[in-house]
Amino acid sequence: MENLTTQMAGVPLNHYIYLCAIIFTIGVIGVLTRRNAIVIFMSVELMLNAVNLLLTAFSVHSNDPSGQVFVFFIMALAAAEVAVGLAIIVMVYRNTKSIDINVLNRLKW
């Protein structure tokens, strides 16, 4: 595995930045275009993962383990967020029999 990673010298850092920007944007598009609350949650997970990958890439770039510790905390936070969020979605489904977020449009005002 270390032979593999020492050969990684060819990938420029900005290609990691572009990849993460593209995946983050896909997450944003998912949040904007979907109405299913669970798919919106999955798009948020995509955005979190894009940021995680970028933090790891920068951590390797600057030879600082703090970035990877941040990723670890983000993963713990994502797990907590998903648990609470899905509990809320189940609750909404029980009360409205739908997970269409437009049912909750009164939250806008």
């Binding site: 010298a9 572009y18 896909i26 030879n63 189940v90």
Partner: protein
């Protein structure tokens, strides 16, 4: 050769994440999301962040995906119950996303770092190194995250419990 692995896996990540948001059936979305997370695990392995690769594998592909699939099957959602947005909203959303990516890429071009990514310390992402960091300068946030997880657990149980008084 390894750089080609990166570009191949990056293409797969983008492809699968596009499929996540454009799949009609929510179950297919979850399955594509699992594949996306798997490609991210490969990215972590390529960066020699082995601890994060394992944690990503266990937490995302294990715990979080099981939770998503469980809720989807519990609520019995499929293509028929899938709410559809008007095509106008979809087009506007995609255009807004394209504007975002153009802005991001433009700003990264201005401040670009073209130096190749070199792993200076091969043991950077190993458990030993991260453990020293985690239980050294990051000890307080680490302990606080246990509180966060406890609060989330209590909150999830409380939210999904039926209201006994009204029933």
């Amino acid at each position: 050769m390894s750089t080609q692995v990166f570009y191949f896996v990056a293409t797969l990540s983008i492809l699968f994440s596009l499929l996540v948001i454009f799949a009609k059936n929510p179950i297919h979305s979850v399955l594509y999301l699992i594949l996306t997370f798997f490609t991210f695990t490969v990215h972590y392995v390529l960066l020699n962040a082995q601890f994060l690769a394992v944690v990503n594998f266990i937490v995302y592909m294990g715990a979080i995906m099981v939770l998503f699939l469980f809720v989807l099957m519990l609520l019995n959602l499929n293509k028929e119950t899938e709410p559809v947005k008007s095509p106008l909203i979809k087009i506007v959303g995609v255009i807004a996303g394209c504007c975002l990516i153009v802005t991001l890429v433009g700003s990264f071009k201005a401040a670009t770092i073209t130096s190749p990514l070199i792993l200076k310390n091969p043991g950077l992402g190993l458990v030993e190194n991260l453990g020293k960091e985690l239980f050294g300068p990051f000890l307080l946030p680490f302990e606080l995250s246990s509180l966060l997880l406890l609060a989330a657990m209590v909150g999830a149980v409380l939210l999904s419990k039926r209201d006994e008084v009204e029933a």
